[in-house]
Amino acid sequence: MGLFNRSTGVQVSVTPEVVRPRNTVRAIVTTDKTIDKVSSVSLEWGYTNFYRYRWAGRADAAAGAMNDSWLMMDQVGTDAGSEKDTDDWVGVTKVDLPIGVNEFTGGSSSFTVPSWAPGSSEALARWSARVTVARGGRDIDVRGDFTVVIGPDDLEVTDAPQQRTAGDGDTVIEIVLPSLVFRAGETISGSVVLTPRKDMSDAELAIYWCWNRSSHPLVRTPAAGGGGKSGQTIKLGKGIPLRDGTPVTLPFEVPLPGDAPPTGEAVHSSLTWHLEASMMYSKWTQGIEKVRRQIVVVNAP
């Protein structure tokens, strides 16, 4: 059934299926039957990078100046939907596979995963060996996937100061961590130190993990928000007294999900992890305080 048969007759298998950076993988290309009318066969190692981009209109166009105002809250014509998810192939190494006289029957190639490889996850990258057969008839494009997992020794981590994302800073919130690198599925045990600068009302404190993906495409217009996810809010205390000169320490345990995407930087997007503490004063005029501390999440077993 030539016309409607979409199977290519070419398979790519990569062994081992799960690797760490600096390890070597091998792809074996097999064919169901000899492929004819072939002009060239290339195998490219690389990853499919997932990211968000802006597909419609200029982000700061004057015509859209009022879009974000509360007047336009439930109206049509706002900016919602101007950004969408996409993916692009990022090639790292390309090799030409040997062919017979216009015929291809299979081949193999090895590849050492670079030390800077972003870890595989649905949020950032899918590593594969991609075989492209240029031929007289329909071209063939197949891929064999493998997973790159990141270990703590694959990254060189330097600490960054924690950021205050909301509030006046009347209470200094410090997230104290035993280390900066955590494995997916691990429970982060640390503590939050609250140091009020003056007498404040009693507070309620919560903490949660979150990851953010930033969008920085090479060609397309970047999206303002690249997407992300945050974990369940874990309440650490209610009615915490905040008096000047009496710091309060509250221990916490935040479990990371077992399938957490590892921290990484790719060509079109990057993924960063944070622990975010959020505090609410009981007197509503005093508002809220939020700080976030960057962590690194790895997923090698």
């Binding site: 950076p21 600096r22 802006r54 597909w55 419609a56 209109g57 200029r58 982000a59 700061d60 166009a61 004057a62 015509a63 990022v90 790292v92 190494t93 050492t112 670079p114 030390s115 800077w116 694959d154 990254l155 060189e156 981590v157 330097t158 600490d159 960054a160 900066l180 930033s214 969008s215 920085h216 495409p217 090479l218 060609v219 217009t221 970047p222 999206a223 303002a224 921290t263 990484g264 930087e265 790719a266 060509v267 079109h268 990057s270 960057q294 690194v296």
Partner: protein
């Protein structure tokens, strides 16, 4: 914090990454950038009244959608011009009244705080 893996001399360098929207700066059309670069409000209004400015608001949309939007922009063009004229009709009288009202303040600043006055006159 940066999570940078130590580089190996025997491997290909990492491919260059792109820029985020913050790093790229404002995402506007050429006509709008020209209008925004004007320092005087009158010139800004005049430039944003031009058909080129209005049509450029559909920039960045895919083909067909862009032409449809430009068709819609042509339809609303008289309203656009009218809107800017109303803005000017409100802006200049208010500016004139405030300018007269704050004359003594400016005169005092000019006499007693000449550097701050010079800085405030620069735009």
């Amino acid at each position: 914090m940066t999570a940078v893996p130590p580089l190996d001399p025997n491997e290909p360098p990492p491919p260059a990454r792109g820029l985020t929207s913050d790093e790229r700066g404002r995402d506007v059309s050429a006509a709008q950038a020209e209008a925004e670069a004007e320092t005087s409000t009158g010139m800004k209004m005049l430039k944003s009244m031009s058909p080129r400015f209005v049509l450029s608001q559909a920039e960045g949309y895919p083909v067909v959608i862009k032409q449809f939007l430009q068709f819609c922009l042509i339809l609303i063009y008289p309203a656009w011009v009218f809107g800017i004229l109303v803005m000017a009709a409100v802006y200049y009288p208010c500016y004139a009244v405030l300018w007269v009202l704050f004359w003594p303040v400016r005169a005092w600043m000019k006499k007693n705080r000449p550097e701050e006055y010079a800085a405030s006159q620069k735009k």
